[in-house]
């Protein structure tokens, strides 16, 4: 029996009727067409499907769409508008500058996980960064340039706050 859900996705209100068994990741990808969120395992182990739900990093294959009723969801498609106007967010910029991606498949999930980290801890050290992305697997980069990318973003956020103040 389909159920009604109302939520905000990338700051836009949406409402849908969904099957109760539909995972949030399939809702985002196949109902809303937001294919930037990837599926790597469907068992909440790889982190490719990480999105923000009410500001927290959540693996969207570990959650049903009906559980997202009433929440605010941010996906990779909506991350830039939370940062720089119309451009890239500092984390996205960091991944580009520091070669934090190769095949790019884990990248949206990594960017969302890193974004959640920097909101809680704006100046993480290396080990804190590594710890924060341990739920996100990458098979290409060896993670080192991802750590560099997050450091870049951290510095960028700090300097932009300073110049704003």
């Amino acid at each position: 029996m389909p159920m009604d859900i109302h939520l905000k996705v990338n700051q836009k209100p949406v409402e849908s009727q969904v099957e109760p068994r539909l995972l949030l990741v399939y809702y985002l990808r196949e109902v809303l067409g937001l294919t930037g969120t990837h599926i790597g395992c469907e068992t909440s182990l790889c982190g490719a499907c990480t999105v923000l739900v009410d500001g927290k990093a959540v693996k969207s294959c570990t959650m049903l769409a009906v559980q997202a009723d009433g929440t605010e969801v941010t996906t990779i498609e909506g991350i830039a508008t939370n940062g720089a106007k119309g451009g890239l967010s500092p984390v996205q910029e960091g991944f580009w500058e520091k070669h934090g991606l190769q095949c790019g498949y884990c990248t949206p999930g990594m960017i969302l996980a890193a974004t959640a980290l920097l909101r809680e801890n704006p100046e993480p050290d290396e080990q804190e960064i590594r710890h924060a992305i341990e739920g996100n697997l990458c098979r290409c980069t060896g993670y080192q340039n991802i750590v560099e990318a997050v450091r870049y973003a951290s510095k960028k956020i700090k300097s932009s706050k300073r110049s704003a103040a």
Binding site: G36, Q92, L137, G142, Y143, Q144
Partner: protein, 777 residues
């Protein structure tokens, strides 16, 4: 005519990234077509069983189901899965697209369900009833050879796929002369590639146009097109293969899989677009595996540390069926058993066996990590037996730079190298002497660190066609469009390596323009001339050279045209800053003016055709042989067996470099996959042939927290094999790093009398080895 180097050799940000970091790239599952049906496979839970019957009635009447098919329905329409490798007297172990009468591995597909969405297709797949008669499974490769083992392919008497030997030099004499013969058996365990994007295929048939379009997450679009056409009996010219973004390959997508042909066939047969997306569980079970060798190694040495000879017996577990290159992989191990040492005599004997498991094939490194591992572990084992320092033992047996090109007893010729230089740099960067002192001091305090060194050489830039099963050349077309924008069409279709950027850098330098006006097109057989693909660290050395040669052809043509316009000899012209100028800079025209003239065709010099389009099929004369030294430190907690990698230094020499940032990225990723093999990863089958480590919960790939900061550096020894002087770097890490880490683990455990430990060095194994060694004392 010349051009300045402005972009080659520079770390340029990637052109591929803006779409990928914004979630705007399209991987296979991001594509959809109207009316598309979902394809789901019904897979065998048994590793070895006879199929008595398959009842599809309930599945066929389930909601949304369009069709349910078994081997009976398709066996006359789809051929067997192709294998390009041929070894004399090899048994035929071809795989049918759907199992015929018998299944030979867990996960083998027995039926296919087509339904309106993936959830309904999965529901219906669960309703297919298969009556199996289980047979005893053949799992252990050594038991597979015994007379009383069940036989997997019943038309044969046994499970030995082939035996093959390679010998060079006088081995008998070498062993007779030796002061010492050291033996070691080592297991190179089975691995699973685990690209983050599982496989997937989509197909659409247009009956009016008689064209079949296949989208697949593959490393080899053109080879796939040829093979799909042959398998399903479609004319090749009417088949188009498109590879969208590919989310990692590591060799697992360098193949032709049953699902790819099946999805293409279903689109034609049922008249609707089809899509199959692999689940992670399927990816573990039925995408190719790697490694899986037992190596018995014997080295003959003189007391002074001179190596006289090497004998290796390889037992290779090929799995139940051949995939594209399965039987070939152990032979690559044989070729590289000389390592970076002068070994006068080598004999390698391969016994390859069939077991009830997934096929092994070309996982990142493909036979060469196995070679480097057995050679580099052996160097440490022998150094210890001789009471010599492992570094000096290595150095003593290096060929000197002036001895290159150097031909090994295995019959290959190393192009260029300076092994001493990379070793010296790595020793300096790691502070090797200080590390040894620190190790001695820590041991006194009851802390056990180990220092591991690996000096490796690898065979790359695959390769001359004479040595390749399906062509070793690569194609490139360069088109300068009337606007002056450039399209580079390459057969080396990438999946994360960054050719869209590195090839644009080459284009910009040769034509004296900027990389932003150079676009790289790949992964579409209708747009790109026939090519081979990206694997075997070949994209830059072979594909990049093809690009370079096509660019040079067009530069020559533009020089002729520009010279005609300016009244200057073409040889006196230089390309740079978007202009074509005389060497004196007195005469100069914009690049675009010469391009425009080529298309306007009003004042072309005699004999010059209009247009600017050049194609090269580059055939390399040899492989390339990158090399390097990796040094690392581990600390072993002897109470728990926990191994922590605490330091990593890598010096790699991949010849000239187009984009250092991309090279470093390849090195990092390769090292970490090697960390996976050394410390965590193991494809474990039980004695029933069930894959126990068949999910990310049980098969541990490295996480960010498992790793130290990697310090990397390069030496540069250009390759004489291609005009760019490049060698290739994609597999260096998985080749060089695994033995470095295991040498460090063995070094840490040396005080306990442990001389060798098989991979992965997981806690239980390390703890047990320490315990056993203590007991034996």
């Amino acid at each position: 005519m010349a051009s300045a180097t402005r972009y080659i050799g520079k770390s340029m940000k990637r052109k591929e990234d803006p779409k990928l970091i914004q979630g705007m790239g399209h991987y296979i599952d991001d594509l959809n077509l109207p009316g598309m049906q979902a394809v789901v496979l019904v897979r065998s839970p048994h590793a070895h069983a006879r199929i008595r019957s398959i009842d599809t009635a309930a599945a066929r009447s389930a909601p949304g189901v369009l069709a349910v098919l078994t081997a009976e329905d398709i066996r006359d329409s789809i051929g067997m899965v192709p294998c390009a490798a041929q070894i004399p007297d090899m048994k035929n172990a071809a795989r049918p697209v759907l199992a015929i009468d018998k299944v030979r591995m867990a996960g083998e597909a027995v039926a296919v369900v087509v339904a309106s969405d993936r959830f309904l297709a999965t529901d219906a797949a669960n309703l297919v009833e298969v009556d199996y008669e289980p047979l005893p499974a053949v799992v252990d490769p050594e038991k597979a050879m015994s007379k009383d083992s069940p036989v997997i392919h019943e038309q044969y008497k046994d499970n030995v796929a082939y035996r093959w030997a390679l010998e060079g030099g006088d081995l008998k004499k070498a062993f007779a002369k030796a002061d010492k013969i050291v033996r070691q058996r080592m297991v190179n365990q089975r691995l699973i590639p685990v690209a983050m994007e599982p496989r997937g295929t989509m197909a659409e048939y247009l009956p009016g146009e008689k064209t079949l379009k296949v989208w697949s997450s593959t490393q080899i679009p053109h080879l796939l097109r040829t093979q799909i056409a042959a398998m399903i009996g479609a004319p090749e010219h009417s088949v188009q293969v498109i590879t969208p973004e590919v989310g990692g390959g590591f060799g697992s997508k360098l193949n032709v899989y049953p699902e790819e042909a099946l999805v293409a066939h279903l689109a034609m047969r049922l008249g609707k677009p089809m899509k199959w997306i692999e689940t992670r569980r399927e990816n573990f079970l039925v995408a190719i595996h790697g490694r899986d060798q037992i190596d018995d190694v014997e080295m003959a040495v003189k007391r002074d540390g001179t190596i006289l000879g090497l004998k290796v017996r390889i037992l290779a577990d090929l799995g139940a069926y051949y995939q594209l290159l399965t039987p070939l992989i152990p032979t690559l191990t044989a070729l590289m058993t000389s390592g970076c040492y002068k070994i006068p005599a080598i004999r390698v004997e391969i016994t390859a066996v069939l077991t009830n498991k997934m096929a092994t094939d070309a996982y990142r490194g493909a036979g060469r990590p196995e070679a480097t591992y057995l050679v580099e572990r052996m160097m440490d084992v022998v150094a210890k037996a001789l009471g010599k320092d492992p570094v000096e033992f290595r150095r003593k047996n290096f060929p000197k730079p002036k001895e290159f090109p150097y031909t090994t007893p295995t019959g290959i010729t190393y192009d260029s190298a300076d092994y001493h230089r990379s070793l010296d740099l790595a020793l300096k960067m790691s502070g090797y002497k200080k590390l040894r002192a620190e190790q001695a001091a820590l041991r006194k305090k009851g802390r056990y660190i180990g220092i591991g060194v690996s000096t490796y050489v690898e065979i790359c830039a695959m390769g001359p066609s004479s040595a390749m099963p399906a062509g070793g050349w690569e194609s490139a077309t360069v088109r300068i469009e009337p606007s002056g924008n450039v399209n580079i069409l390459t057969g080396s279709s990438p999946h994360g390596q960054g050719q869209e950027t590195s090839f644009a850098q080459i284009g910009a330098d040769i034509l004296g323009i900027t990389p932003d006006v150079v676009n790289v097109v790949h992964g579409d057989t209708a747009r790109v001339p026939y090519g081979i693909g990206t694997f075997g660290s070949r994209a830059t050395a072979v594909g990049g050279t093809a690009v370079y040669k096509s660019l040079v052809k067009l530069r020559e043509k533009l020089a002729a045209i520009a010279g005609h316009i300016m009244g200057e000899k073409p040889a006196n012209l230089v390309f740079g800053d978007g202009r074509i100028s005389s060497k004196s800079k007195k005469k100069s025209i914009p690049f675009g003016e010469a391009v425009g003239a080529a298309y306007a065709a009003k004042s072309l010099p005699p004999g010059i055709e209009p247009g600017l389009d050049a194609t090269t099929f580059f055939e390399p004369t040899n492989f390339t042989f990158p090399f390097g030294t990796h040094i690392c430190v581990v600390e072993v907690d002897v109470e728990t067996g926990d191994v922590k990698l605490t330091k990593y230094v890598a010096v790699d020499d991949c010849g000239n470099v187009i984009n250092p940032m991309l090279v470093e990225g390849q090195v990092h990723g390769g090292i970490v996959q090697a960390v996976g093999q050394a410390l965590f990863e193991d494809a474990v089958y039980d004695d029933q042939g069930q894959l126990l480590s068949g999910e990310l919960t049980d098969y541990a790939i490295p996480r960010a927290g498992d790793l130290p900061w990697m310090e990397t550096a390069r030496t540069v020894t250009p390759s004489p094999v291609n005009p760019l002087g490049v060698k290739g770097v994609g597999e260096a890490g998985t080749i060089g790093a695994t033995p470095a880490i295991m040498n460090a683990v063995a070094d840490a455990l040396a005080p306990f009398g442990v001389t060798h430990l098989d991979m992965p060095a997981k806690r239980e194994r390390v703890w047990s080895a320490i315990r056993a060694a203590r007991r034996a004392k």
